[in-house]
Amino acid sequence: MAVAKIHGVKVAGVASAVPATVRPLTEFAAQYGTDEVQRISQSTGVERQHISLGKLCTSDLCAAAARRLLTDLQWDPTSVEAVILVSQTFDFPSVPATACTLQMRLGLPSTCAAFDLALGCSGHVYGLWIAASLIAASGLNRVLLLAGDVASRTCSPLDRSTSLLFGDAGSATALEKENADSEMVFSLGTDGTGWNNLLIPAGGSRHPRDEGSAVRRHAEGKNIRSLEDVFMNGAEIFAFTLREVPPLVDSLLAASHWTREQVDYFVFHQANKFMLQHLAKFMKLPLDKVPISLQEYGNTSSASIPVTINSRLAEVVRSRSVRLALAGFGVGYSWAACGLNCGPIVAPDVVLVQEAEAWSC
């Protein structure tokens, strides 16, 4: 695994935002039956999701989180020198980069660098690595990392493997240079052989949209979806995490010279509860060190780590310094972990965004 150590950079704050609209999983009972929904919910841990009704995009959620964070940090937007947007559900099919629109909407200066980074489950940690690297290597002082997805908008409502799992969320993480000799440790990896186990087949240049690509057809099990809907092979994804996540955590701990006991919290990508609890048990991590936010937000893709920090650890990171081991893993396959001392930082409660707050452009 690629291991990187970055010095002299700190996380100053983390904020998350979700659509105000809540969909309890019981809403699926008419479609799948109460028992089936309950069974799925018990396994995944998801009890409700915050979802976009069709107007709210990734950038709207990230912008709400960023505004809140900049205000609470009392950062002048003009002091931000780079903004990175991590997502797999950008506002536009390919051009322009959504990050450019966020530079404008957030009032960031025209001297600010802005770019998109296309990753999902591992994306927030990859974003931290790149943002911290920019500060350490190129002398920037302040970088804003935005990570979010409107994953629910990629799901067929007739596909139980995805529609009952994914929720929508955006996040903002503020990083800045500091003189103290703080260290952020990263461990990263990729296995592209898993590319087709979490995939939207059509809509890009490999398989452009055509007259048949939006037609929903019967797939495996009783699921129905189109080639423009997201497909997930849950068993393959689970097998991948069993294979890669324990070595990822081991690699991070070894590079950080930390024992499991010295880590205050292992904040994992919120894939599903069954998987996280199985991994925690296998890796002998106490469950109270592995916060879970799935019940309230579902799997929020690239935003799930910040959403878990803001919803489950906000009071802790506001008040004291803790050792965090963050780990994202999934679509790609791609994985990344980060070990850092974090806090006290600005960490507001999760912000709710109304549908009417969508950017009307």
Partner: protein, 74 residues
């Protein structure tokens, strides 16, 4: 490998009456061999038998006995 323990593990996983499963039992006929239990089997093989079973191998299983072969010590 203890066959009785394996059957008991499968009965728990598939929520079947204890003692009701045999190695010859067709998985599909239990009515409970679906994607969630498929993943539960991968987890059980991992935690109780220290085996990382490939989903493609599990897909090929027709009977409870076929799944037992996947977790046998190599």
């Amino acid at each position: 490998m203890d066959e009785k323990t394996f059957l008991a593990n499968m009965e728990e996983l598939l929520e079947c009456i204890p003692g009701s499963l045999s190695l010859e039992q067709s998985l599909v006929d239990t009515g409970k061999w679906d994607s969630l239990n498929f993943v539960s089997f991968l987890a059980m093989a991992h935690s109780k038998y220290s085996k990382r079973v490939a989903p493609a191998d599990l897909t090929g299983c027709k009977t409870v006995g076929d799944t037992m072969k996947l977790v046998r010590p190599s």
